[in-house]
């Protein structure tokens, strides 16, 4: 078993055993369920497809879930001093970072997969007439964009966790970084540059979900998510390496 697998396995077990792993997922599912039902009612008779409604119900909550799941990854190790024992192990920092990132991503994917039961199982069961509206391929495409978004937010959360010893602080900064900055950016555009409003679509990340769920796959969007995920993980492993230079 490689160091990457060992790290991943240990973190996944910790998530399963602790409240910081199970409680956020339970809350996430509850909130997503509520958002989904509300969106379904709102779009009754509209043009939105079931997979799109599911996608836009899940997408805004993923940053919050990822921030809470990733907050303890490095902050806890730094607070307890365990980080010293991890840095003494003969493995590269990036192996450690990637193992922890993958564990948070696994939990997020698990939560998002559970949320897919809403449209796939519950809706056809409650109203068989909607069964014809289910398109497995379109659901798979929505799943891909949600996976890409999950990996980005998990990477950002993992990166932020390295900078803090306090888990709550890490989660708050992570949520601000994931949600606050895009919202502030949009607000600035509305106030100072209203002519750009049409170019800067409302929450481009949600727009990506709309596009993917209707079959409009953009390689630009895929590249953006992959590059930003890689960049966040790179910053994370370099920061960890720099810890050696400091007291």
């Amino acid at each position: 078993m490689s160091a990457l697998q060992v790290t991943w396995l240990r973190e996944v077990r910790t998530f399963r055993r602790s409240f910081t792993g199970t409680l956020p997922i339970a809350l996430f599912l509850a909130v997503v369920g509520w958002t989904f039902v509300m969106s379904l009612r709102k779009s009754d008779g509209g043009v939105l497809q079931l997979q799109t409604i599911w996608g836009v119900s899940v997408s805004p909550w993923i940053p919050v879930l990822c921030s809470v799941l990733t907050m303890r990854l490095f902050a806890e190790e730094r607070a307890t001093g365990m980080i010293d024992l991890l840095l003494v192990i003969p493995m590269r920092e990036r192996t450690l970072v990637f193992g922890k990132f993958l564990s948070a991503l696994t939990m997020t994917v698990f939560a998002v997969s559970l949320s897919s039961l809403l449209p796939l199982v519950i809706v056809p069961w409650l109203s068989p007439s909607l069964k014809s509206a289910l398109h497995p391929t379109a659901f798979a495409m929505t799943g891909i964009i949600l996976l890409l978004q999950s990996s980005l937010w998990c990477a950002v959360g993992t990166m932020v966790s390295v900078f803090f010893r306090n888990q709550t602080m890490a989660a708050v900064v992570s949520i601000l970084l994931c949600g606050g900055i895009p919202l502030a950016f949009y607000a600035v555009i509305l106030v100072w540059l209203p002519e750009l409003r049409l170019n800067a679509t409302w929450m481009p990340l949600i727009t990506n979900v709309y596009d993917f769920s209707t079959g409009l796959v953009s390689t630009y969007a895929i590249a953006f998510y992959l590059v930003m995920t890689g960049l966040s993980l790179f910053i994370c492993s370099k920061t960890l390496a720099l810890l050696r230079l400091r007291s």
């Binding site: 060992v6 024992l85 840095l87 192990i89 493995m91 050696r244 230079l245």
Partner: protein, 241 residues
Amino acid sequence: MLEVKNITFSYNTQETLGNITFDAAPGEILAVVGANGAGKTTLLRLLACLLMQDSGNTLIDGVDSLTRPIAYRAKIGYLSERCPLYDEMTVEEYLTYRLRLKGERQFRVRRRLDEVITQCRLDDHRKTMIRLLSFGFRKRVGMAEALTAHPPVLLLDDPLAGLDLPQRKQTAEVLTSVSGRSAIILAGHEISFLLEWCTRFLVLHRGRLVGSYRVNDYEKDLLQHKIEQQMIHGREEGHQL
């Protein structure tokens, strides 16, 4: 064999360690002593690759910590002063996890685990959750972890702190038994107790190495007096540095 050549280290602009040179071979138990703030922990953290020296080299069996850090780290076992552990794991789970993380082959993990648990007298606590252990047993688990992969160099930061006399004696026995295959460098304050089983003393005073003594070359009372004087004044009584 561990070779430390002229290492210096500064926190910001303040020099914490200056021009430290020494070596240690398997069979030696080397005690690094000094007053609080003398630089003992900093020296051990440098040797464990947790800090990077400003100048100088550290080598284990010819492997340099700066040019081949991963190969270097594979040759050390480290016990930190705070002895952090994962509280939610059992002793066996934790040691297995650390062995696997160190890249130990699957077929060897069980053997190494049994060996180190017996060596550190943790048999009765194999399945105990770490959060339920007393401080003394937590230290033993930390030491067992440092010993697991049979490293040629063991770095132990204050392994006796907070232990009662029987536990100290047990720790000394364990370290003496493994000293045949590993060079042991430990930081500590309890000179009279360390004199019983350590083979060499390095005395640090304000980041400088002011004395190096082989225990067999001196009478114990005289050596203890010399070391205590150097710890306090940085020199022996009546001598100018």
